[in-house]
């Protein structure tokens, strides 16, 4: 797993600085996209009444997810330690198969491209892709 260079970290921080104000929109889009494009992920939300993009639960949870990614951005210099609690949550309570981290990461990249078409250059893309892979890895730490 390639580690994040100083340049990667700066690139991710700079790009993430554009997100405030759009978290709910982005988060809801990422989540609802995942539920439509990868319907097998709906299994984790069987307790929700409404899985449509406009549902209150989707919007709220989208925001929660974005807050988690934001936390990862803030704790970029030590993701394993920084995301310990989130890893425990995903491993022991949510039991989300870590294969799904790739799926949500992909959808984050798609929504970034849609929301920031000019700014989401190949250079930003590569740093963000590496960062999300590193976040996924940190989230999987407590699984077994």
């Amino acid at each position: 797993m390639t580690s994040l260079s100083a340049k990667d970290k700066d690139t991710v921080r700079a790009f993430w600085a554009k997100v405030p104000g759009k978290e709910e929109l982005i988060g809801a889009d990422v989540l609802s996209r995942m539920l439509v494009v990868y319907p097998q992920t709906k299994t984790y939300f069987s307790h929700w009444k409404d899985l449509s993009p406009s549902s209150a639960q989707v919007k709220k949870h989208g925001k929660t997810i974005m807050a988690g990614v934001g936390e990862a951005v803030a704790k970029m210099d030590d993701l394993t330690a920084g995301l310990l609690n989130l890893s425990q949550l995903h491993a022991f309570t949510l039991r989300v198969d870590p294969a799904n981290f790739k799926i949500i990461s992909h959808n984050l990249l798609v929504v970034f491209a849609i929301t920031f078409p000019k700014e989401f250059t190949a250079e930003v893309h590569v740093s963000m892709d590496k960062f999300l892979a590193r976040v996924s890895y940190a989230l999987s730490e407590k699984y077994r």
Binding site: S32, L35, V37, P53, H106, V110, I114, P117, F120, A122
Partner: protein, 179 residues
């Protein structure tokens, strides 16, 4: 046999009908070479790929990106028989190019002639590579990102689902003849 709904057909043909191959093709390939630099291995004859600027300015990359989209075009026109459409290209890639099927899946009509004329056996043998399983997705993913950036909110979840399904079928068809 892949089943397509009317909505999926309409989405796929719609995307390609309104696509500028000259704009998106190069961008998708450039993005792939930058985001997944190991894919540059297959383009060592293209000249300068030393940095992002060089890749972006490389006319061989641009030309090849356009070819890639024209290659996809064949599948769009033959959505009910994508497997047969790519059968000869798949054989080409496995036997002449020794490209790992999971790395490089998209090509065009002229490729077969070009490659048999220009590539020598010893170079092909030395190019035999073993790459992890997901690489075939890489170019497809970069194309998805470029289409998303181009279409914006018009690239809805349903559009994304249809487009990704289409690319998955193409990639699978190109890998069929490998052994």
């Amino acid at each position: 046999m892949v089943e397509w709904t009317e909505q999926e057909r309409s989405i796929i043909t719609g995307i390609f009908a309104n696509l500028s191959y000259e704009e998106i093709g190069p961008k998708a390939l450039v993005r792939c070479l930058i985001v997944y630099p190991w894919t540059q291995r297959y383009f060592s004859s293209f000249g300068n790929l030393y940095n992002a600027e060089a890749i972006r300015g490389n006319p061989n990359v641009a030309a090849h990106g356009i070819k890639v989209l024209h290659g996809l075009d064949r599948a769009v026109k033959n959505m009910d028989n994508i497997k047969a459409t790519y059968a000869e290209l798949s054989v080409l890639h496995s036997e002449k190019l020794h490209v790992d099927p999971d790395n490089f899946r998209v090509s065009s009509a002229g490729l077969q002639q070009m490659h048999s004329a220009h590539l020598k056996a010893d170079r092909l043998v030395s190019r035999r590579l073993t790459f992890p399983l997901f690489l075939h997705q890489l170019l497809a993913d970069c194309l998805t990102i470029e289409i998303a950036a181009k279409l914006g909110t018009a690239f809805t979840a349903d559009t994304q689902a249809a487009f990704q399904k289409f690319l998955a079928v193409v990639v699978s068809a190109l890998g069929r003849q490998y052994h």
